[in-house]
């Protein structure tokens, strides 16, 4: 029986549609989410099924409608707030960090904020510095939020369904370059728990810890490495918070060499945390320092040859891993 394949975008749409059918309090709020189905067409068809009361177009007011999401979540709804580009989370930081993340704690556990923010990350779309950032490190830094980074259509569907059912504010980052990526996605109602890493490929010589679309890059590099006689394990934490430290550390202990791949800035970013966790947790097993690979520490340039130089590629990961394993 051939497995059904969906694109990443379709998997997200299916998760939303299933949850909206299951629970009448789930609604979508954001810019051009209804008839337009977002610029990436991820939401096409939802307003037709659920109506404009549940798939709600907004003005260009990210702070305002995020705040409305928080209040609605506190009072009985399960809003999925859509922030078109991850670069615009800058406008929502107060509502997300000073409000959503803290309401439960500050109220001594009396109010909850079961809300999801869906947004994007990722460069190389020739969109320049204000439409290409991967800012998930900020939210990962903030207690009270959970942060999800799906890397396959399968994970996207299962993790989004879990995020919607979670009673906390969850930020769900989608790499916009992955929307057309295809992969097997079961039709049934499965969920994937938050905080459980996934070993996307087993290997013995080196661990590539990778998030979001960097998982695809790591898998590509792992194939290249295989031909060069290096067996790479690819581990996807899937959520940066909660973080499945155990799986990451165990893989590092097994292989004793680690590269961390994340498309955000490495400095003070997700790669720094994961590197620190592994450097401490696998301290006695590592044969080499943990290496971080991420966006170059520059605003993302528009010019294609420059932009391409800012992100890790299968080739650069391949070379770094080979060198680390002494095969270069």
């Amino acid at each position: 029986m051939p497995e059904r394949e969906l694109t990443f975008a379709q998997a997200i749409r299916e998760a939303l549609a299933e949850e909206m059918r299951r629970d009448a309090t789930v609604c979508i709020i954001g810019e051009d989410v209804a008839e337009a189905g977002t610029p990436f067409k991820v939401l096409s068809g939802l307003v037709e099924e659920f109506g404009s009361e549940r798939v709600v177009d907004t003005p260009i007011s990210e702070a305002g409608f995020t705040g409305i999401g928080v209040g609605a979540a506190m009072t009985g709804m399960r809003p999925v707030v859509d922030i078109m580009f991850g670069d615009f989370i800058t406008l929502t930081m107060d509502q997300m960090v000073n409000q959503a993340a803290k309401v439960h704690y500050m109220s001594g556990g009396h109010w909850n904020v079961p809300m999801v923010m869906r947004t994007t990350l990722g460069a190389t779309r020739r969109s320049a510095a204000q439409h290409s950032q991967s800012l998930h490190a900020w939210f990962s830094h903030v207690p009270g939020l959970k942060v999800v980074l799906p890397s396959t259509p399968y994970d996207a569907k299962g993790l989004l369904k879990t995020a919607i059912r979670d009673n906390n504010p969850v930020v769900f980052f989608e790499d916009k370059m992955m929307y057309k990526l295809k992969g097997p996605v079961p039709e049934d109602d499965y969920t994937i728990p938050l905080g459980v890493a996934d070993v996307k490929r087993e290997g013995g010589d080196i661990t590539l810890v990778a998030t979001s679309s960097m998982v695809q890059t790591a898998l590509g590099a792992a194939s290249m490495l295989e031909k060069a006689g290096v067996s790479a394990e690819v581990v996807d934490p899937r959520t940066t918070w909660p973080l499945d430290e155990k799986t990451l550390i165990e893989s590092a202990q097994k292989t004793s060499r680690v590269i961390v791949l994340d498309e955000g800035y490495g400095r003070y970013g997700v790669a720094a945390e994961i590197a620190a966790v592994i450097a401490a947790g696998a301290f006695y097993d590592l044969d080499a320092p943990v290496k971080r690979m991420g966006a170059m520490h520059v605003p993302i340039p528009f010019s294609p040859p420059l932009e391409d130089a800012t992100v890790p590629t299968e080739q650069t990961v391949f070379e770094a891993a080979r060198q680390m394993c002494g095969k270069a």
């Binding site: 309090t25 609604c27 009361e53 709600v56 907004t58 003005p59 007011s61 702070a63 305002g64 409608f65 995020t66 705040g67 409305i68 999401g69 928080v70 209040g71 609605a72 979540a73 506190m74 009072t75 009985g76 709804m77 809003p79 107060d94 509502q95 000073n98 409000q99 309401v103 439960h104 704690y105 500050m106 109220s107 001594g108 556990g109 009396h110 109010w111 909850n112 904020v113 079961p114 207690p143 009270g144 959970k146 009673n167 906390n168």
Partner: protein, 338 residues
């Protein structure tokens, strides 16, 4: 304990039951006095160095919170501010658990985790005070969004000081509330000062036009007159409940004390003369007392008796809070996630 028995929210909760005019306005009086005497104790706690941190007193502004909350149902929502004790009490919070919160005790509304600026209480529809100026405008509007979607016929009242007119998110949500005809009332408590700066130095144009620009019905009211506040609030709340959309109420008022309990020397930003004028001529409690007496709803002695009773309740509530235990330190990492 007895303080809970006099829970100021009770009447609001029973608002379906018939009350006479007299009962209604005596209750409003009781509520205003409760707030005033609550704040008196807060200041005491600060002076006696029993309260951690600072607090922003609501004294002088009581008619606003009380006039409005007396027109709300217990299950309607409010959001409040850093100067939030009055809103919380007016919506029905118990002084004992409030004091406990101010002292960081486990018996507090937030188990001590929130403090003065974060009192929240699902039982009275209190979505929480907020220490970010303008920080709750989205939350209140979102509660109205949910009320409309869930067809609960609840309304949400968003209290904020005129300083919050400086926050852009207010305009974002007012636009949305009007587009979506949400049952939310934006209440701007204009007490003339943003901290230590007169609002005329921070506010161009007029306050009401900030709302009418979005097509929102906007009115101003004398915030020292509890009956006028109640009257206009009742109208706006009814309007919202009927699905006629959001409104904006500017309540002109004055804080009798400093910006916070520690703001003692304040002549560099406002004169003693101005303060004493408001205290003698425009005290909402005195004004309402005079009216009650003129209507023969009460006499001076009975009002004094009420105040004395309430003061005793407040003292008992303080005692309760002072003696209450802190939360266990183990709680520190509880309630981060639901």
């Amino acid at each position: 304990m007895s303080v809970t028995a006099s829970n100021p929210g009770d009447l609001a909760a029973r608002s379906a039951a018939p009350v006479t005019e007299q009962q209604k306005w005596l209750h409003a009086y009781r509520q205003m006095v409760s707030i005033r005497l609550f704040e008196e104790q807060v200041n005491e706690l600060y002076i006696r160095a029993l309260m951690p941190g600072l607090a922003h007193l609501y004294s002088g502004e009581e008619a606003v919170a009380v006039g409005i909350c007396e027109a709300l149902r217990r299950d309607d929502y409010i959001t409040s501010t850093h100067r939030g004790h009055g809103h919380c009490l007016a919506k029905g919070a118990s002084p004992d658990r409030m004091f406990a919160e101010l002292l960081g005790k486990e018996a507090g509304y937030c188990r001590g985790k929130g403090g003065s600026m974060h009192i929240a209480d699902p039982a009275t529809g209190n979505l929480g005070a907020n220490a970010i100026v303008g920080g709750s405008v989205g939350i209140a509007t979102g509660a109205a969004f949910a009320a409309k979607r869930l067809r609960t016929d609840r309304v949400a009242v968003c209290f904020f000081g005129e300083g919050a007119l400086g926050q852009g998110s207010l305009y974002e949500v007012m636009n949305l509330a009007q587009l979506w005809k949400l049952p939310v009332i934006y209440v701007c408590e204009n007490n003339l000062y943003n901290e230590y700066t007169h609002f005329s130095e921070t506010t161009a144009g007029t306050i009401l036009a900030r709302a009418t620009a979005f097509g929102i019905e906007a009115t101003s009211v004398d915030g020292q007159d509890v009956r006028k506040v109640n009257e206009v609030a009742s109208r706006l709340i009814q309007r919202a409940r009927k699905g006629e959309g959001p409104s904006f109420l500017q309540a002109d008022t004055y804080r009798f004390s400093g910006h916070h309990v520690g703001d003692i020397s304040r002549e560099y930003y406002r004169s003693k003369q101005e303060e004493s004028l408001w205290k003698t001529e425009r005290d909402p409690i005195k004004l309402h007392a005079a009216w009650l007496i003129a209507q023969r709803f009460a006499d001076s002695a009975s009002l004094d008796k009420t105040a004395a009773e309430i003061r005793n309740e407040m003292i008992a509530a303080v005692k309760f809070a002072v003696e209450a235990p802190y939360p266990s330190v183990k709680e520190v990492d509880q309630h981060v996630y639901a």
